[in-house]
């Protein structure tokens, strides 16, 4: 679902709204301000890429959107819910019901098969997809009984995506999903995410330090030293297969 690039970043159709968000970490005797007043929005049903150098605050921002962390100041509103106001228990329910995560290192449980890994997420919500449906969606029919150790990196990342989408989340947060993969496999993973966005309408936030990869996003937030340097919207993002990095 392409968006109108003319619309401002705090438009009404925003699924995620970040208002003057700061995050400070105490590091020994000094406090390090990783985010220094981020205000931005992420449109519903789109792919948004957050780009920036290492240490720019990308992952911290993703953690705040996913309800893994709390801001030091400011507001994080996801799907109309102000996460700052939620208790730890409510944040757990928020993550459980509304968010799917895809990690750079896949984070699969080594002692569970692909199907069982997906099941860990599927059984958290009532109307989840079955593990086999989710695995089928990521092109892993017939791999349900394989353990992570028996799968390639790309296949493991597919299982990780299957696990994330099995809950039918409104928001899919991907932290460098191709960071540990070769280019060819990375393209396949990105194509999969693009397809999920287009067919299922899932809002995807993608972290990458590679600007060429960001070209598949409808919106690109560039982070530098903990603040948003630029917001670039694209009417016709590139297809994953066209990307070069």
């Amino acid at each position: 679902m392409p968006i109108d690039p003319e619309r401002s970043s705090d438009d009404d159709d925003a699924f995620v709204r970040l208002e003057n968000v700061t995050r400070t970490f105490p590091m020994g005797e000094v406090d390090v301000r990783v985010l220094r007043g981020v205000t931005a929005s992420i449109p519903r049903g789109c792919v948004t890429a957050i780009v920036g150098e290492s240490g720019s605050g990308k992952t911290t921002l993703l953690n705040l959107i996913g309800g893994i962390d709390r801001p030091s100041d400011g507001r994080v509103i996801v799907g109309g819910t102000d996460l700052v106001k939620l208790s730890d228990r409510e944040l757990t329910f928020f993550r459980r019901n509304r968010v799917g995560f895809v990690f750079q290192l896949y984070n699969l449980i080594a002692t569970l098969t692909a199907r069982e890994n997906v099941m860990t997420a599927a059984e958290l919500v009532a109307d989840a997809a079955t593990p086999d449906e989710a695995l089928s969606l990521v092109g892993l029919d017939g791999f349900g009984d394989h353990f992570p150790g028996q799968l390639s990196g790309g296949q493991q990342q597919r299982v990780s995506i299957a696990r994330a989408i099995a809950k039918r989340p409104e928001l899919l947060l991907c932290d460098e999903p191709t960071g540990a993969l070769d280019r060819e496999t990375g393209v396949r993973i990105l194509a999969l995410l693009q397809t999920l966005n287009e067919r299922q309408g899932v809002t995807i936030v993608l972290i990458t330090h590679s600007r060429p990869i960001a070209a598949l996003a409808h919106r690109v937030l560039s982070l530098e030293d903990g603040i948003v340097r630029s917001v670039r919207d694209s009417k016709n993002p590139k297809r994953a297969e066209e990307l070069e990095w």
Binding site: F101, N107, A110, T111, L112, E116, F147, G149, K167
Partner: protein, 796 residues
């Protein structure tokens, strides 16, 4: 200057503080046991040997009917092996305490006018020994005097041998003969109701009509005699046979000595077994930690090797890791051991009367405990060390290949496999992946549970013994014994005493039982056919009728003699004609306590060539009788000539219960604590290692929307399963331990059977699980503090 590796060691130790502390605490429990038990053993042994030497403890005793002292001296002089003897007079007495409802008994023993250096002599505690003046002087056993608030200058009235005498207390004393003093027939001490009254020998001669005679010998053996105690006693018994030898026994069979020897033997066993269990478990847990450390520090080790550190330095580095943990545990445990030794000494001082029993801990014992702790820790570090040595630098610096997993045996089972959810599958596969670790946890839990079961089993066994003996077998309120054999006329007199509802005759005769393979001493208790106050029962509590002829023998006694129902045994009574009789074992009873041998009183009389003889009466008293009636009864008993002792059965039961509870309470608490150390230490360690390995897994689940409790539950399942399986194995192990320990307290005089109530097995499992849940609370706290953001990107 501190080397780089030493700095690394110190920092690694600081970082692994939690897990290493748990191992150190388990090792500390081992060191504490070692220090406490070895020190207590040494202290007790030292105190006993010193006491025996300084107060000339006798090597043997001979109880006689009546024998001229000169004959005794001549006989002893003729027998090789006897170094010295002392003839004495002993008599049981009832004290006439005005207005009491509690019978007070005593043993009167004669001493030379100058008791210094007498064989089986005394050590004065208060006041002075006999003075030249008055003859009716007495020295009281100190504990009895304290319990009855008697001291020098006080007087008391003793009734013995049909004589009533007022005695003046000159002092109080202890004797190595009565380090553990109980009234005859009892095993619990009750100093307020039983004591020893030492009197001048000439006074005793006069009181009992024993001028120039004695009824007991205490003697010392030469070194040659010590090597053949049995032979010496046999020869002496033969020489003195015309004067009526009632009993002749060596120090090892003397009751007080037997109790101390039994305690020393138990301490000896425990001082090896318990530390071995704790050190063994500490070594196994350290094995898990060191193996994990070797995995964790692969890259570091690879790098160190690559830059030129030799194997020798790395070995030293990793060995120090284990040794420091072991030494820390040893030091901590030694401190606890010193404290435990003091506690055990206090307990021994309470039950045993020594002039000097101090709580000493030899530096060598502490050094030994620390060294053993370190050695076990080093042994536990060896496997991890082997991994470090095997690492090739190039290989070590590459990240480890991802762990593999596969279906477990349980999952492949057609019925179970399909029903297992992913959580249980995770648990089983994790256990399968770390089999050695799981096995160690199971073994540790088995030992932990067996210690718990042992603690509950002790309580059960003692409870069962007291209940069996005092509720089922012995149903009387008072037991009267006579100085010498009486007849049914005496029984009639007892029946006429105020408050007596029922009185039953008893004839107890000490005998020697000789089978083809063994010879043992024991007592035949002769009771009437319809006895209701002393009722032989089997271990299930069913009444067993006394056969009209032959013996009804406790299976332990029969077993010790190698006899079965229908077999014949040669019985030599120590009374009457003392001629050996060949009798039949008419039946055996599964007895839970004692080595009892019952017979019909009439039959026993026939064996002794007597008729209607008795030497004791069991009395059933009016229920709900007031103190006035009891006082009246007791004063009438004391008035009656020939009464030897009066025992209040309810009080005896209370004394036994109190003593057992007192001795057991501390041990049970310490045992539960030790079991807790094992469960808590091993489980916490396992969980911490597991959490460290699976930090990313836990963080991922938390990010996905699992709560702390749900993620914690995954770890809990694993620890619960392992501990439950271990605890189940621990049940038979504990039952075996219980039987083993109860067998070590068995003597010829009495034996206890191991009893275990089914609910104690349940309590064992529940207590074990409660430790696991307590540990889980710690796991939950660690999970709540877990830094997910950092853990999400940890390379495993």
């Amino acid at each position: 200057m501190v080397s780089v590796l030493t700095r690394k060691l110190l920092r690694d130790l600081a970082r692994s503080g939690g897990t290493l502390s748990a191992v150190a605490v388990i090792a500390a429990a081992g060191a504490a046991c070692l220090v406490a038990f070895v020190s207590s053993l040494a202290n007790l042994e030292h105190a006993r040997d010193d006491y025996y030497a300084s107060a000339r403890m006798a090597d043997f005793w001979v109880d006689l009917r009546k024998c001229p002292v000169e004959d005794v001296r001549r006989a002893a002089a003729r027998i090789e092996g006897v170094a010295d003897i002392r003839a004495r007079i002993g008599w049981s007495a009832v004290l006439d305490v005005e207005g009491t409802t509690m019978p007070v008994n005593a043993m009167i023993l004669s001493l030379p006018s100058d008791p210094a250096n007498a064989i089986a002599g005394i050590v004065m505690k208060k006041g002075s020994a006999f003075s030249a003046g008055a003859r009716n002087q007495t020295i009281l056993s100190d504990k009895f005097a304290r319990a009855r608030s008697l001291g020098p200058g006080d007087t008391l009235t003793a009734v013995a041998g049909g004589q009533r005498r007022t005695l003046v207390v000159t002092g109080t004393a202890d004797s190595p003969e009565f380090i553990y003093l109980v009234s005859p027939g009892s095993i619990a001490e009750d100093p307020a109701t039983y004591g020893v009254l030492y009197v001048k020998h000439d006074f005793a001669e006069d009181m009992f009509g024993f001028e120039g005679a004695c009824n007991g010998i205490v003697g010392l053996l030469t070194p040659e005699g010590e090597r053949d105690v049995r032979g010496v006693l046999e020869r002496l018994s033969r020489e003195l046979a015309p004067f009526g030898v009632l009993n002749a026994y060596a120090r090892k069979d003397q009751f007080s000595a037997q109790m101390i020897d039994g305690e020393l033997q138990q301490l000896g066993t425990t001082s090896v077994l318990l530390p071995a269990v704790f050190f063994g478990i500490a070594a196994m847990v350290l094995n898990i930690l060191m193996t994990r450390l070797a995995e964790k520090q692969r890259t570091v080790v690879g790098t160190l090797k690559a830059i030129g550190y030799g194997d020798g330095r790395l070995v030293r580095h990793f060995l120090l890791f284990g040794a420091v943990t072991g030494l820390a545990g040893g030091a901590l445990g030694s401190l606890a051991g010193v404290w435990m030794t003091a506690g055990m000494t206090r307990l021994y001082r309470f039950y045993f009367t020594f002039p000097d029993l101090s709580s000493r801990v030899a530096p060598a014992v502490v050094a030994g405990a620390c060294a053993l702790s370190a050695v076990f820790a080093i042994l536990g570090s060896l496997q991890g060390l082997r991994r470090v040595l095997r690492l090739h630098p190039a290989e070590a610096m590459r990240p480890q290949s991802p762990p593999s997993a596969s279906q477990t045996f349980a999952e492949r089972l057609p019925f179970i496999g399909r029903r297992l959810g992913f959580r249980w599958r995770m648990v089983l596969r994790n256990l399968d992946r770390h089999r050695a670790r799981a096995l160690i946890a199971v073994i540790s839990a088995a030992f932990g549970a067996s210690i718990l079961l042992l603690a509950f089993g002790f309580l059960d066994s003692i409870g069962a013994i007291v209940d069996f003996q005092y509720r089922k077998v012995l149903r009387s309120d008072y037991r009267l014994t006579f100085d010498s054999e009486a007849d049914d006329g005496a029984l009639g007199e007892v029946r006429d005493l105020p408050g007596v509802v029922r009185a039953e005759p008893v004839l107890s005769v000490v005998c020697t039982f000789a089978s083809r393979s063994e010879t043992k001493r024991g007592t035949i208790t002769g009771i009437g056919g319809g006895a209701e106050l002393l009722v032989p029962r089997d271990a299930d509590g069913c009444v067993v009728a006394v056969p009209p002829a032959g013996l009804l023998m406790a299976d332990r006694m029969a077993g010790a003699l190698g006899l079965r129902t229908g077999d014949r045994v040669t019985v030599t009574p120590s009374r009457g004609g003392r001629r050996p009789v060949d009798v039949r074992v008419a039946g055996t009873i599964r007895s839970s306590v004692g080595m009892a041998v019952y017979a019909s009183r009439d039959w026993l009389n026939r064996i002794l060539n007597e008729r209607d003889v008795l030497n004791g009466v069991e009395v059933l008293f009016q229920s709900g009788a007031d103190d006035t009636l009891r006082r009246e009864f007791l004063s009438s008993v004391v008035e009656r000539p020939g009464i030897g002792t009066v025992t209040d059965i309810a009080r005896e039961k209370r004394a036994l219960r109190r003593q057992m509870d007192g001795a057991l309470a501390g041990s049970v608490i310490v045992m539960v604590l030790f079991a807790g150390v094992i469960f808590f230490g091993v489980t916490l360690n396992g969980t911490l290692v597991s959490l460290e390995e699976r930090r990313r897994e836990a963080a991922t689940l938390l990010v996905m929307g699992y709560s702390d409790a749900e993620v914690g539950a995954l770890f809990l399942r694993e620890t619960l399963l392992v501990n439950l399986v271990g605890a189940l194995f621990g049940v038979p192990l504990g039952v075996f331990g219980l039987h083993f320990f109860m067998a070590t307290v068995q003597t010829d005089a009495f034996s206890f059977s191991a009893e275990l109530r089914p609910e104690s097995v349940l309590y064992t499992l529940l207590t074990a699980l409660s430790f696991v849940f307590a540990c889980h609370a710690v796991t939950r706290r660690i999970l709540a503090r877990l830094d997910w953001r950092e853990s999400l990107n940890v390379r495993e």
